[in-house]
Amino acid sequence: MKRRAAIALVLLALAAPAVRAQERHGRPWQELTPEEQWRAWENYQRYQQLPEQRQKNLERRYQQFRDMPPQERQRLRQNYDTYRGLPPRQRQEFIDKYHRWKGRK
């Protein structure tokens, strides 16, 4: 019994870094769908062209996003879908509202 518990503890200790890494960085590349791999690859190439400061900002925001509870992340995804679905005029209006809202904060 003790031996089993010890083995379980060792396995847990071995698995913990991988779990932590997944929590921090998300899914591994192999788990992405082909469409997601395309999107990630294209965005990666755009990312490489950004100045270093912008890259760091993105990484910081990504960590904020990863640290959010799953429901909150889901809410943001839904908001993004809504935003993408807006006609160009309404989207521009939203951006104008965002600047106005940001200025009032």
Partner: protein, 206 residues
């Protein structure tokens, strides 16, 4: 503030990344500098156009049907012409596969190169007029061509392999602030203060 610094801060301002103090300084500069106002308007339009880029190319039902019809015709043609010898009995199958692959590659190539689905009507939006009545460049001119057409590598670079979701969700991450406060932003009113001609906010010096 000099124009060089103002331009350095512009993308951060568009993304809502600028601190309120810097934002005020930038607004102060923009109020006095028409060239930087124009630059900011272009930056905003570019970033909006970038966000509007499709994640994937749509293929119309018409193109799909036409492709399938051509493949069927090619296969039937091959079957009719197939000689009776033993090894050539297998010819229709690779011919069918080749024809399918060729038509698909052609279709994807057309869509990716032109951004236009063959057979779909080309819609050209009327040029937008800004507050001064000057025609702005149509979105098609602002939208940069899709430069990254090559397939992702089997072995991704270290950065991409380390955090692929960063790049999958980059559009969300870029707009994190907007999306987090989406509802509050939507209920914000625009009509209490008039915007400046460039669509910029008036400088807030308070």
């Amino acid at each position: 503030m000099r124009c060089q610094r103002a331009r350095k801060w512009m993308t951060a301002a568009v993304d809502g990344e600028l601190s309120p103090r810097r934002r005020r300084a930038l607004d102060g500069h923009l109020a006095a500098c028409a060239a930087c106002r124009r630059e900011l308007a272009v930056t905003e339009r570019m970033l909006t156009a970038l966000e509007g880029l499709p994640m994937e190319a749509a293929v119309s039902a018409r193109l799909e049907q036409a492709t399938l019809r051509r493949v069927r015709l090619a296969a039937a043609d091959e079957a009719e012409r197939a000689p009776a010898s033993r090894w050539t009995r297998w010819l229709p199958l690779p011919a069918f596969a080749l024809a399918t692959a060729a038509v698909l590659v052609l279709a994807i190539g057309i869509v990716r190169r032109t951004g236009q689905v063959p057979g779909a009507p080309a819609v050209r939006p009327a040029p937008k007029l800004d507050a001064r009545g000057v025609a702005q460049a149509p979105p098609s001119l602002l939208r940069p061509p899709r430069r990254f057409a090559e397939a992702p590598p089997a072995e991704p670079p270290a950065k991409l392999a380390e955090a692929p979701d960063l790049f999958v969700d980059m559009s969300i991450i870029r707009n994190l602030d907007k999306l987090t406060h989406f509802e509050a932003i939507q209920t914000t009113t625009l009509d209490d203060e008039p915007a400046t001609p460039d669509g910029l906010e008036p400088p807030s010096n308070g």
